[in-house]
Symmetry: C2
Subunit: 341 residues, 2 copies
């Protein structure tokens, strides 16, 4: 019998009091009946809310915690106040002590990263962690990192991120030799950044387990021509949020176009199945979940304002990564890479 | 009688041999019958092509030039080869010597910026130039800068860009006290960049001719809640291109949704006027034209792969800016600002 995957959940993170969390777990459990949950949060409240989810409650253990981290709390303060006793800390710690295979939180990103670094520590041979996002593309999905963990990454850190991202691609896309590019600005522009060119030189001059394909620009990410796009964290955060904002802006345009006249409403109704497919493609819930890479444990950050479908997809992502032993993959890949250099 | 605006055009820039340039000028001329053009490029070719545009030919002078700058040519090389004799150099120089009010080129961005800096020089009290783009938003349009001129701008340069962008907003949006924000990453993130925080402090502590509104994130740009969004050039280029890529990706999704079934085609046909409005909103030609700000002259960079409508809108943008005496506005604003500090 296969050992079930155990998932630690920070039930106190997220907007709207995390009301999407238990319904999300119930959704994911239907798809993954071999998992178990440890729920960190206010025991009484969780027990009451679990009454609606009988099957989920049968595979869940509750660990009482009454300290929750505020969504806008500064990471330093959150660390001080939340050390040892907050639901966020305890849920991360359960991964550290081997009680859980991974943790999911929809809480404060900065606090989650700060606690994760202290509890799980950065992997040997990796300088700094990264946050990886799944980016929907015309061809499917790509992994984009770093989207906000390491501001001002240098050449070696960008190389580390390439190894981390490529390992994640092996793990969740199930491909042995993923393709990787570095994000840069156009050849026609005045100049790029030195650290990106240096990282490119390192990646070009090594025989790697992934296929390094040079630079891409911002407008290339959505084309999906590479499996992994690597960048420094500030740029990655700007790119991710700008893409989200643009998608939202266009759906506003779309809505107002549809509501423009009776004729447009009729047309929309007739074509509604096609537009459902379109909406489905543009649904941010489908690809919810930023992964903290480079730590000795898997931490999944859900969007704070997601819905049950989104939270379930963040959980599913962690399950995929646990099943494929991503931490071992990263350790082997980074060791092989260091031997090469 | 009002003196006509004279526009220098680099006819040798752009993809597809710049085939959109003369048709674009003809379009703009219909809207602006009081302008005149000086066309820099291969005289024989231009003369032949002008036969199709009788009215345009009557208000155009041709200056023969046979050296064109390649779209992918490195700026340093382009400068060496194109100095004095290329159509790009000559058209910029006509602004310097007062023959033209502004110049439009669809050529190589890096070369155009390098030549513009040498010929026109950076304005007094401005350290480095910026490229400003018009960004379509839910509420209308915003000015976004820098989108690629100054990589690694420091706090003072970000402050300069705020003054430049706000002056441009006064000029083309015709508002006396524009609102300005700095692009940053979320408060919940690990940390922002020091130079952005420093710029914010300078802007917060001065009584300005614009309304400084603090930070926005990538997903806020499209909301259009401020008139001007300021950032360093590498980030700006990534943001602009990522937004363009996302818009293109969604229109691909849209096209494939429409072509999915007979029913969806019928629905689309019935609602087609609404979708034309949507397409119109998403048409990148409508807001074509990056403006080089901070130089002693107006240089408009058109997209290299635009169409006649796009090229005409780049020309129109320059006309608006010339009519409102943007250079005087910038000089006054920057002097007032320096006196305050």
């Amino acid at each position: 019998m296969v050992k079930p995957i155990i998932i630690a959940i920070d039930v106190m993170g997220g907007d709207n009091d995390g009301s999407f969390i238990l319904p999300g777990l119930a959704l994911s459990y239907v798809r993954n009946p071999d998992v178990r949950f440890i729920l960190y949060g206010d025991e009484k409240k969780i027990q009451k809310n679990l009454l609606e989810f009988k099957e989920l409650s049968e595979v869940s253990t509750i660990v009482n915690s009454t300290i929750s981290i505020g969504m806008a709390e500064k990471p330093g303060l959150a660390l001080k106040r939340g050390r040892n006793h907050s639901s966020m800390w305890q849920s991360i710690n359960s991964v550290k002590i081997g009680e859980a295979d991974f943790v999911v939180s929809a809480g404060n990103t900065g606090a989650l990263m700060a606690m994760s670094k202290i509890i799980l520590r950065t992997m040997a041979n990796i300088q700094r962690p990264a946050i990886a996002a799944i980016w929907p593309t015309i061809k499917g999905e790509s992994i984009v990192l770093d989207v906000g963990a390491t501001i001002g990454a240098d050449a070696n850190q960008l190389v580390d991120f390439s190894v981390l991202g490529a390992s994640m691609a092996q793990s969740i896309f199930n491909i042995s030799r993923p393709s990787v590019s570095l994000l840069n600005i156009g050849v026609e522009e005045v100049k790029g950044l030195e650290q990106i060119r240096d990282a490119s030189n390192i990646l070009s001059n090594n025989d790697l387990f992934f296929n390094y394909q040079g630079f891409v620009e911002g407008n290339d990410i959505g084309k999906g021509e590479v499996d992994v796009v690597v960048m420094e964290g500030f740029n990655g955060n700007i790119a991710l949020k700008t893409a989200e904002g643009t998608a939202k802006q266009i759906s506003e345009y779309f809505k107002s176009a549809i509501n423009r006249s009776l004729l447009s409403k009729i047309g929309y109704f007739i074509a509604s199945s096609a537009f459902r497919a379109l909406k489905d493609k543009m649904n941010p819930s489908k690809v919810n979940g930023g992964v903290f890479l480079g730590l000795n444990g898997i931490v999944i950050k859900s969007h704070g304002s997601t819905d049950p479908i989104g939270f379930a997809s963040a959980v599913d992502l962690g399950i995929d990564m646990s099943r494929s032993n991503i931490l071992d993959k990263i350790r082997n890949n980074i060791n092989d890479f260091r031997l090469l250099q």
